[in-house]
């Protein structure tokens, strides 16, 4: 039987190796991701690839919120839904360039985040979690009941394919590269924001809000900005979902979906950009590998979370451990 410390040691050593060869490993992952649709022509695999990338976008969005400021946004699926419905409503009524639709979907999600953030920014931990849980459900109820806009439980079908000049993004492979592009842009932008005055302010709230105040950092403002930034990408993820599946309905955005994305962030590790990528990769692909057990998907998630909490509370690639590994390197 493995002891906790033994497993932690093994993961720690792996981490050391990974850290030393960080750039090489990222490059290998990136190249594999790029050539994946070329080496397989199995449409189903590529389809799973698209979903995996979409969850990576969503988990990375949530991680910016949970992992960098400890705001436990349980109602995350609500913002995903807002993005998806914005896209569905706009594209089924007007012909608008898809880049614009994506931005609008992100911005509308951000505006809702602002409305949610202002009254809740002073709530700590569990109260914030409950308030946002309620928010996610309210969004779903609005979608179901405001049927002149959303067609209620019927959902909105017939979302057209995105078109760039004469090129239509249509096949699974097209969408795969499209999602990969969004993810890379998102990671690039998040990396820059995190490593700036704004990102440092976020970290300071998470680390010690009293000290942050003493440094003149406006806590509520930076919490809300963080929420708006993370949900912007959730809205973009929603737009992608709508374009990809060409159909949105309230069933997609149940609480489960929020928890699924939460699980990805937890398992992969909060507060690092790579953590949620690993988490969503693992938790999307793993259940597919054991498809006979598809019915037990939620159980797999549950077990993954329990194992992580027991053996590695900071997640596979969580921030705390990464930071410590850096110090040990120097010693």
């Amino acid at each position: 039987m493995f002891s906790n410390s033994k497993i932690s040691n093994i993961i720690g050593k792996l981490k050391g190796i990974i850290l030393e060869n960080k750039l090489k490993i990222y490059l290998i992952i990136l190249i594999s991701a790029v050539i994946f649709p070329i080496i397989t022509d199995n449409q189903y695999y590529i389809y799973i690839g698209v979903l995996t990338l979409m969850y990576m976008i969503l988990a990375s969005s949530l991680n910016i919120i949970v992992g960098y400021t400890y705001q436990y946004l349980i109602g995350f699926a609500g913002f995903f839904a807002i993005g998806a419905y914005t896209t569905a409503i706009i594209t089924t009524s007007y012909e608008v360039n898809f880049i614009f639709v994506f931005l609008i979907s992100g911005i509308i999600a951000s505006i809702f985040a602002l409305l949610l953030g202002i009254p809740t920014s002073r709530l700590g931990g569990i109260f914030f979690a409950f308030a946002t849980l309620g928010f996610g459900e309210i969004i779903r109820l609005i979608i179901i009941n405001w049927d002149t806009l959303t067609r209620g439980t019927f959902g909105i079908p017939g979302i057209p394919r995105p078109k760039l000049f004469n090129f239509i993004i249509n096949t699974n492979t097209n969408f795969y590269y499209f999602a990969l592009l969004i993810l890379l842009v998102q990671l690039f932008i998040s990396y820059r924001v995190i490593n700036s005055r704004v990102g440092r302010a976020w970290l300071s709230l998470k680390e010690n809000s009293e000290a942050a105040k003493a440094m003149g950092i406006k806590i509520a403002k930076y919490r809300v900005l963080n929420l708006m930034y993370g949900t912007f990408w959730a809205g973009m993820g929603g737009a992608f979902f709508a374009y990809f599946t060409q159909y949105v309905s309230p069933d997609t955005f149940v609480l489960d979906e929020g928890f699924r994305i939460f699980a990805m962030v937890l398992v992969g590790g909060m507060g690092t950009l790579i953590g949620p990528i690993a988490g969503s990769g693992l938790l999307t692909i793993l259940p597919e590998l054991v498809r006979e057990f598809a019915r037990y998907q939620l159980i797999i998630y549950g077990i993954a979370i329990l194992l992580i909490i027991h053996y590695r509370p900071q997640g596979l690639f969580g921030a705390k451990e990464l930071a410590q590994a850096k110090v040990e390197e120097k010693k």
């Binding site: 820059r192 924001v193 700036s196 005055r197 440092r200 009293e210 440094m215 110090v327």
Partner: protein
């Protein structure tokens, strides 16, 4: 000399406990003021009220002729008052350098757009926080430890880092709460020298301290608190010989 800070009958009560009770003090610009008193005298609470971390029960705080009583801690930092904490409050999982960088928040401007496109503002800000940050770490003797996480620093180094971080906001008035607590004689001396030098450079300092050696060495003026009240004030010599002070300390059996 002008008055930099004035309190007018400042009170802070915690359900019946009069932690700070009608405290009126005046601080001349450019001096080092010591605040002493037995444990529980209300020294830290006074700092918390001055910096807006606690709302006063009554009274007024005037800084540079401006009523700052109702300002938020952030606004108070913005107008030039900075502090350290008795129970050290660092950003534990961030490096010493990152800790100080965060201190420059109010002195930099980078927003989302600047960060994403690496505008001139971003570049200037990053250069500033990197270079000045290292300079501050050097000043407090932490240059070689800039990559070490806050939580992994020694006790004395943590206190030093807090001072460096407090200086990053470029204050005119620096409040330090027991900066030498837990330090040996040699470490204590470096802190005394540092505070003295900062004062020479024009920063007004208010120091809460138990070490009488430090107080006598450093302070131009001393205020003695006991049970939330000012029981004595004056230059070090006067205060040391004030019978009221001896009684307060002997009565509590402390120091």
């Amino acid at each position: 000399m002008a008055t930099i800070l004035k309190t007018d009958k400042v009170c802070k009560y915690f359900d019946g406990v009069k932690a700070v009770d009608k405290v009126s003090i005046e601080v001349e610009e450019g001096i080092i003021l010591g605040i002493i008193g037995p444990n529980g005298a209300g020294k830290t609470t006074l700092f918390n009220v001055l910096t807006g971390m606690l709302a006063e029960t009554d009274g007024k705080v005037i800084y540079k002729n401006k009523d700052i009583t109702k300002l938020s801690p952030q606004d108070i930092t913005n107008i030039g008052i900075s502090r350290t904490f008795q129970n050290i409050k660092l950003f534990d999982h961030l490096s010493a350098h990152e800790n100080v960088k965060i201190g420059f928040h109010t002195k930099t401007k980078t927003g989302f757009i600047d960060a994403i496109f690496k505008t001139k503002t971003y570049k200037n800000d990053e250069q500033k926080v990197n270079e000045k940050g290292i300079k501050l770490l050097k000043r407090v003797g932490l240059a070689e430890k800039q990559e070490i996480l806050g939580q992994n620093l020694s006790y004395g180094d943590k206190r030093r880092l807090e001072i460096a971080r407090a200086l990053a906001v470029e204050p005119d008035l620096l409040l330090v709460d027991e900066p030498t607590a837990g330090m040996n004689a040699k470490e204590t001396r470096t802190i005394v020298e540092l505070l003295d030098k900062l004062n020479d450079e024009g920063i007004t300092v208010i120091i809460i301290e138990h070490d009488m050696g430090v107080i006598m060495n450093l302070c131009d003026e001393i205020v003695v608190l006991n049970d939330g009240n000012v029981i004595s004030r004056g230059d070090p010599n006067y205060v040391q010989n004030d019978p009221a002070v001896r009684e307060a300390y002997l009565g509590k059996g402390a120091s």
